[in-house]
């Protein structure tokens, strides 16, 4: 599995990882017991600091989303209740709120903004249901 990491983004790298794992679990692309790539593998792949990856994984462990398995590394926790539509909305909402703020600041109309969002959705390929990795 691959993260999408943008080092120049205003979101700290550890947060980018945390948010992506939350989304992958919420959308069931990662299920209970699924292993995450090792700290070392992620750090080497993106040429980032291993401590950053560690920090993200530890936070997710504290949240109860991940468990540390001896000799394996991090895996998705078992007792994770299936995410409701509500949970997923909660994850999407902050990004939309900031889009809404920019829309207002630029004085773009509601319908124009909605059309733009639709075209963004079309540009982004839909993932196949069975495509887990």
């Amino acid at each position: 599995m691959n993260f999408e990491i943008t080092p120049t983004s205003p979101t700290p790298i550890y947060r980018q990882i945390v948010e992506q794992v939350r989304r992958l679990v919420a959308s069931r692309k990662l299920g209970p017991g699924d292993e995450l790539p090792s700290v070392r593998a992620v750090a080497l792949h993106y040429a980032i600091n291993p401590m950053t990856v560690s920090k993200a994984y530890s936070l997710l462990e504290t949240e109860g989303l991940l468990v540390r398995k001896r000799g394996i590394g991090m895996a998705v926790a078992d007792a994770h209740p299936e995410s409701t539509q509500q949970d997923k909305f909660a994850l999407l909402r902050p990004a939309l709120m900031s889009a809404a703020q920019i829309t207002r600041q630029l004085g773009i109309s509601d319908s124009e903004a909605q059309t733009l969002f639709k075209s963004c959705l079309n540009e982004y390929p839909k993932e196949k249901k069975d495509d887990k990795r």
Binding site: P7, T8, A43, L44, N49, P50, M51, S54
Partner: protein, 285 residues
Amino acid sequence: MTNDNPIIETSRLSMRYEYATVLNDISLSVPRGAVVGLVGRNGAGKSTLLRCLVGLEEPSQGSAQLFNCPSLDLTDAVRERLGYVAQTPDLFEWMEVTEHLRTIGQAYPRWNEERCMVLAARMNLPIGRTVKNLSGGDKQKLAVVLALAHDPDLLLLDEPVSNLDPITRREFMRALFLDRASEEERGANKERTIIISSHLLTDLERVVSHVAFMRDGRLQLFDAWDSLLEHLRLVPQPTIDVPRAALVCKNPRDAQCVIDTRLAPEYADAGRILSLDELFEELNA
């Protein structure tokens, strides 16, 4: 990161020459495992600070310590744990690269030829060539491999990547953590501490845990990069009075302010977040 003794510590370090003050009252404390990006304009004092840290220059005032050992009197045990890349590295021009690597390697008990050659290969260093025939970039690679090959616990790097192409720079960033990531994962308390000066801020953003901004010989700002990214905001023209402590800097040209919202929560949503590039510009405006 553990809260034991800092790996690098300076106390009121100053360096004055007849013509200028190059370092001005620098107190810095770098914890174990930190990767510090040292940034500032040309002449801000970065190289002098690094040279004072490794004991190559004697400060006019104040002191520096590495692993609790005075920089001016480093023990062999501490030296063996250091890797330093100078801005203009001193190399043995007449030697072949392999010979050069081995000669320096002999001085370090922890030097490992295999690790050294793997590193050289990853960085694409032409090991059969004589040093004097290497390009500027390849000489820089050699200096970096020399600094890393004995698996140092503390790396001090002065503009180590300025002559390297983007692909080699990426490889260099990986090399900084090579051998260490797995140990870190096992929870061993052996993280490498790194201080690296560079103008290539987008490269630094990938790897730093902390940033230290210098201007005119002073340490302007030192903090965890994640915290700065999350808490500093660029506010065009603050309407309410900003508490003095929360004002990181104010642009004399357009009165834009960088505000630390941890100390001024009322600004938490004001203005916008800054990238490392932008923060650098504002701090030097």
